[in-house]
């Protein structure tokens, strides 16, 4: 499966991919995008099976990316990996159709727990 990691931080994209591989998802193909706008293009063109997105990013946030996808009828599973930890943000994510919500900092176990139902190791 193709997995898209959307985060404006290069360090965090590397950490997310590393944690996913440590969680046992190392047989999948990881691609990256640096903000929501680039992520949206990558989803529509590349059709990944799963998207892991940051929340706060320049140009287009993660939640804006998800809302634009759903408004266009695209149901690609999108979840958030973000330092945003407040209840209202988690509710907005869930109400917008997010598949999971992982708070930074995270462990490989947290990734496995959040995504175990969505993808196979």
């Amino acid at each position: 499966m193709k997995i898209l990691v959307v985060d404006d931080s290069k360090a965090m994209r590397m950490i997310v991919v590393r944690a996913m591989k440590q969680a046992g998802f190392d047989s999948h193909v990881f691609e990256e995008a640096v903000n929501g706008a680039e992520g949206l293009r990558a989803i529509l063109q590349g059709k990944p099976g799963l998207v892991l997105s940051d929340w706060n990013m320049p140009e287009m946030t993660g939640i804006e990316m998800l809302q634009k996808l759903r408004a266009g009828g695209d149901m690609t599973p999108v979840g958030f990996v973000t330092s945003e930890a407040s209840g209202e943000i988690k509710k907005l994510a869930a109400d917008s159709g997010a598949a999971f919500f992982v708070t930074k900092p995270f462990t490989a176990d947290a990734m496995r727990e959040a995504m175990g139902q969505l993808i196979k190791a």
Binding site: D8, S9, A11, M14, N56, S83, K104
Partner: protein, 165 residues
């Protein structure tokens, strides 16, 4: 809010901040972080990473890290030798650190509020000025024998509102 309540809130925030700092350091860097009793700016050269909070709560968070520690942290985050990490990659890593800490600290503050993207300054000879704010909490920690500092400044309006309640 009465004086003892403000002190109690500040003590709670300090405790929560210590827990968040330890969580970020241990899970992201695998490094222990020890609280320090001193409260001062680490000696330069420094990275100063800044995050703004706006909304119900208004404030600014600052993370100050000696340059050599910032490079070491970036090396761990990128899985590279510290010397091989570019200056831009170090700023990216330090910005992500304040983002992780700040997002978790924001969840403890009145909301709804929003955090900005991180900004990172680097150098030996600069001062950070935050007009219209007062220091809410500042804590120093020891990392690899060096001092790092996290501080939360809140807007004078928020501070006055808390005092009036």
């Amino acid at each position: 809010m009465k004086g003892e309540d403000m002190d109690s809130n500040r003590d709670t925030l300090k405790g929560d901040l210590g827990r968040i700092m330890d969580m970020v350091w241990s899970s992201t860097l695998g490094e222990p972080l020890a609280p320090m009793t001193v409260s001062k700016r680490p000696p330069p050269p420094l990275y100063t990473a800044c995050l703004q909070i706006a909304g119900t709560y208004e404030g600014t968070m600052l993370l100050e890290i000696p340059v050599h520690i910032g490079r070491s942290i970036a090396g761990q985050m990128f899985g590279m030798e510290p010397a091989a990490v570019s200056d831009a990659e170090v700023r990216d890593a330090v910005g992500e650190l304040v983002n992780m800490i700040g997002g978790n600290v924001k969840a403890l503050l009145p909301g709804p509020s929003f955090i900005s993207l991180p900004a990172v300054a680097e150098g030996s000879d600069y001062l950070f000025s935050l007009p219209g704010t007062v220091l809410a909490v500042a804590e120093n920690y020891e990392c690899k024998g060096a001092c790092i500092r996290f501080a939360l400044f809140e807007s004078a309006r928020c501070a006055a509102g808390r005092s009036a309640n």
